[in-house]
Symmetry: C2
Subunit: 199 residues, 2 copies
DNA sequence: TACGGTGATGTCATCAACTGACATCACTGG
DNA sequence: CCAGTGATGTCAGTTGATGACATCACCGTA
């Protein structure tokens, strides 16, 4: 459905609603179609029916339009760590947090995740942003572990462990022909990591 | 020594030599002095006695001027992994690689590392670039581990393990009042990580 | 009903980061 | 002596990003 198909209420709004979603959808489509770099912000804004200035009111920069699901991921991770039994061992908490995160990536999302990953993989600037989001997530988790009483550097190492497993499992999840669920891949990667560090 | 103190040979060169080093030095000084964002590339170039265009011939972008030591770090890591005994356990190889990397950070470099880290920490864009360099390093190490016969995802997990330990130990190394050597911090962090993952 | 505040948007001007195309000219090898 | 090379300069242009100010539907309230 295009912008021109919208039916108006009697009370006409000054602007079509949901500019942020329109911008995100326009950006996704244009990136997938013509590539990230060849797509200008002006073009995205025009497609969404707003001005370039409005784009930058909704997203801090051009990259950010691809990264606004990260808040939910961080909430899932940090929430699980915070809610975990105070006596649980670090790796038990990590496993719980990974389960909570995995719930955000059901099988239906895999196709979309693959498309998005393709866009990100094709542009170093987008990879940088993705890595910054993961680093922010790591910091937030380390904080949560410190609140549980873990000292440094153990808190940071535990947070990094969780994020590394997530990262590696995610890469497997979106790789071609992969069938296993994200949660299974997390559990398997956790076990592999355990084996490696014990070697 | 400033640019104006150079003594010329009988055969005058068309331009003063070493433009790249002059640019890097100028950038470091200006960043430390006025902050990264408030320093323009034009200003760096002017200080180094070249044009803005020449800056971009030596560095791919403004950030890159702070990150051209990474090649040596990657060589140290990958070289150690490649040179390690083919039968050695992954964590033994990781320890060897960390020792090789630690040799690049002797006590004399700590003050400089702290100053540079201060600049990077104050700017998200620079953090992104640093993370991208670490990710590139991780990929290169994973490659080296695969060449040793490790399968996925073990190769990636092992490479991530090495880089996480490096990263956490580095953060400790440059933290205020820290006295221990980088190599010691790496060994200690490795041991902590072992304990965490075994929990 | 009138009216003042609010918020999402538009308009305009400006800057800084980059890039492509082409010119310059000391140096070098034959 | 001359043609080629490479590091640099010059210049024009695009794009991302930001500040300042205007607009006007909507909402609550007198």
């Amino acid at each position: 459905m295009s912008v021109h198909d919208i039916t108006y209420d009697v009370r006409m709004a000054r602007w079509e609603p949901d500019a942020q979603n329109r911008l995100r959808d326009a950006a996704l489509t244009l990136f997938a179609d013509g590539g990230y770099e060849r797509t200008t912000v002006a073009e995205i804004a025009r497609t969404a029916g707003v001005t370039e200035r409005t784009f930058f009111r909704h997203f801090a920069d051009k990259r950010e339009v691809l990264f606004d699901g990260q808040a939910r991921l961080q909430d899932a991770f940090v929430g699980a760590v915070t809610a975990a039994d105070g006596d649980a061992a670090p790796m038990t908490v990590v496993a719980t947090a990974l389960d909570a995160a995995a719930a955000l990536f059901p099988p239906e999302r895999r196709a979309f995740a693959r498309q998005r990953a393709g866009i990100v993989a094709a542009n170093p600037g987008l990879q940088e942003r993705e890595l910054l989001k993961l680093a922010t997530l790591t910091d937030a988790m380390a904080d949560a572990f410190r609140r549980r009483g873990l000292a440094e550097p153990t808190a940071s190492l535990t947070a990094h462990t969780a994020v590394v497993v997530f990262h590696v499992a995610f890469a497997q999840w979106i790789s071609p022909d992969e069938q296993r669920s994200f949660a299974d891949l997390c559990r398997s990667a956790t076990e592999d990591l355990r084996t490696v560090t014990a070697s």
